[in-house]
């Protein structure tokens, strides 16, 4: 048996979430006294043997150009084949966009129970229980998986990347690849920005910033920190910022190590998207703003005065002039 980890790639690079999934899967394998193996679909630029440092003993690679385009049916078919070959009893995905497409399909295909949104290692001493985030981050549920094969998709930033020594053995798999029913016509990516969905640091702005012309407050701080940027719903609704930056109940759910909220009141629907962040900093001129209740650190003050000073202090810390 083995633990199989799906390593997701885009443009030939393995995604950061996949290193978290690999570290997590390797730990599960260690706890179950078995080996951790990865699977990569398509052609990647990275040296796959280096994935050994996350604890993977072996990496299966299906080196087909056509697999550089994501297709949930095709990917499910290929991963199911690999899982059978590797006799995988636990399969790990990142709970990212592609993970949300394939993990449920694979669950049905392999008759394997799925827990999506896992936030901790499974409890394996008595059954197989996985802790996951529920009620939009307001609680956790421990879900027991009753099937022989188990699938877990891990929330981003929920498990720390662990790097050690070692090289993974590479095995090229040739699997029959079904024809894709989905034609990808366009891919639009904002280049040069840190993708919000897996950012470790995020600076976010709300209506308190008054207008898009003031967003340099947010972007300057983000740049100094090396952070991604996000915003509250009214801000994207008013087109002050692009829609993909909207976080909250109806937008993206994120869980960075640091969430910096500037001029955001902290409505419950906003908190639902960010309350799993490890450290929350709130800058708001109203001491009664509800966000302070969810914050770890706060400054009551005018963002227009305070934020540029914070940016300066960050630059000083990092030696950027």
């Amino acid at each position: 048996m083995s633990v199989l980890i799906f390593l997701d790639q885009a443009d030939g690079n393995i995604k950061k979430n996949s290193f978290e999934a690999a570290s997590y899967g390797a730990k599960i394998a260690e706890n179950l006294n078995t080996s951790a193996e990865g699977i990569v679909l398509g052609t990647v630029k990275d040296d796959l043997t280096a994935l050994g440092k996350y604890g993977l003993k072996k990496v299966y690679n299906v080196k087909e150009e056509s697999l550089n385009n994501f297709d949930d049916q095709v990917f499910t078919q290929v991963i199911a084949e690999a899982a059978k070959k590797a006799d995988s009893k636990v399969i790990v995905f990142s709970n990212n966009f592609n993970g949300k497409s394939i993990a449920p399909r694979l669950s049905v295909r392999l008759k394997a129970g799925l827990v999506s949104g896992a936030t901790a290692l499974p409890e394996t001493s008595n059954g197989f229980k996985v802790k996951k985030s529920v009620f939009s981050g307001k609680a956790f549920a421990n879900i027991s998986i009753k099937t022989e094969i188990k699938i877990i998709s891990l929330n981003s930033n929920a498990y720390k990347i662990l790097e050690g020594e070692g090289l993974a053995e590479i095995e090229e798999l040739s699997v029959e690849i079904p024809a894709s029913k989905v034609k990808i016509k366009e891919v639009n990516k904002v280049s040069g920005e840190i993708p919000l969905s897996d950012a470790e640091l995020v600076v976010s702005g709300g209506r308190g910033l008054k207008g898009p012309e003031n967003w340099n407050l947010v972007t300057d701080l983000a740049k100094a920190l090396g952070a991604a940027t996000s915003c509250s719903r009214p801000v994207s609704d008013s087109d002050w910022r692009p829609h993909h930056e909207h976080v909250g109940q109806t937008g993206l759910t994120i869980a960075p190590n640091l969430y910096f909220a500037i001029g955001i009141s902290g409505a419950i629907q906003h908190l639902a998207g960010v309350n799993r962040s490890k450290t929350i900093v709130v800058i708001n001129k109203d001491p009664e703003a509800p966000f302070f209740k969810a914050a770890d650190y706060g400054i009551v003050g005018d963002a227009f005065e305070v934020v540029p000073k914070i940016t300066e202090a960050v630059k000083k810390l990092k030696g950027i002039s």
Partner: protein, 247 residues
């Protein structure tokens, strides 16, 4: 064209989250239940728009749940749709629920099945993909735009740091999120009409269940905010660096 929209009932976004029975059950007393926002604002409204554009289209709603779900099903019918089907079961297992929906779908040959992005209580994001696999159909997850020309759909789907435009032929399963449509409020005619629309109750078919909730927990309470005077931004940066160790 036949469209099926999967709708679920969830606690209101502002509901207090607490548990009973030794932390094995969600405390429902005093909680207001709503139509899951993703199902309502995005999946259902987009489906209604498709029907408005093609009045010959048939729009069915489906829910797997007990009779306590009837009010939210009626609310959905007040927004639009020709009839609703409720499969009478209180299961929370994604595979079991997806199996029930797939079974109904097989009998009715829908061209298009919409789900929401996720339920806001269990946050599974799983049922759409499972239905697609059970029916051997393509699945586009987390769609932000959907348009139809003949039997070819063009769907925008969110990916890391951007989006992707896909072209797929029907039949198809799509999970819907922000961007698909704008929220609507049911009008009086819709509310009156919903009372007479059929709401069929079916008994569940045999299906396995893969998972079980064994317990719930609340996150540990935050220690409380540490306030830093507005004229000491260096102190905030120092704390983030030395105490929280996040920068």
């Amino acid at each position: 064209m036949k469209i099926l929209v999967c709708i679920s009932r969830t606690p209101d976004t502002t509901a207090k989250i607490a548990f009973t029975d030794n932390n094995t059950k969600f405390q429902e007393a005093g909680v207001q239940f709503i139509l899951n926002p993703y199902d309502e604002f995005y999946a259902l409204i987009r489906a209604i728009e498709l029907k408005e554009a093609d009045p010959s289209a048939i729009l069915h709603l489906i829910n797997v749940g007990g009779s306590e779900n009837d009010p939210i099903i009626r609310k959905a019918l007040a927004l639009g749709g020709d009839e609703a089907i409720r499969v009478n079961s209180n299961s929370h297992d994604d595979f079991y629920i997806a199996s029930q929906i797939a079974e109904v779908a097989k009998q009715n040959n829908y061209d298009l099945i919409f789900t929401g992005k996720e339920t806001i209580d269990y946050n599974g994001s799983s049922i759409g993909g499972m239905i697609a696999e059970l029916l051997n159909l393509p699945f586009i997850s987390l769609a932000t735009k959907f348009s139809l020309e003949g039997s070819t759909a063009t769907v925008d789907r969110e990916i890391e740091g951007g989006d992707e435009v896909d072209e797929v032929n029907l039949p198809l399963v799509v999970s819907c999120q922000k961007g698909m449509a704008e929220q609507r409020i049911p009008n009086m005619r819709g509310i009156m009409g919903a009372r007479t629309k059929p709401l069929k109750v079916l008994e569940p078919t045999e299906a396995g269940s893969f998972t079980e909730v064994s317990s719930f927990e609340l996150p540990p309470a935050k220690a409380g905010v540490k306030l830093i005077p507005a004229d000491q931004p260096e102190e905030l940066v120092r704390l983030l660096h030395e105490e929280a160790k996040v920068i």
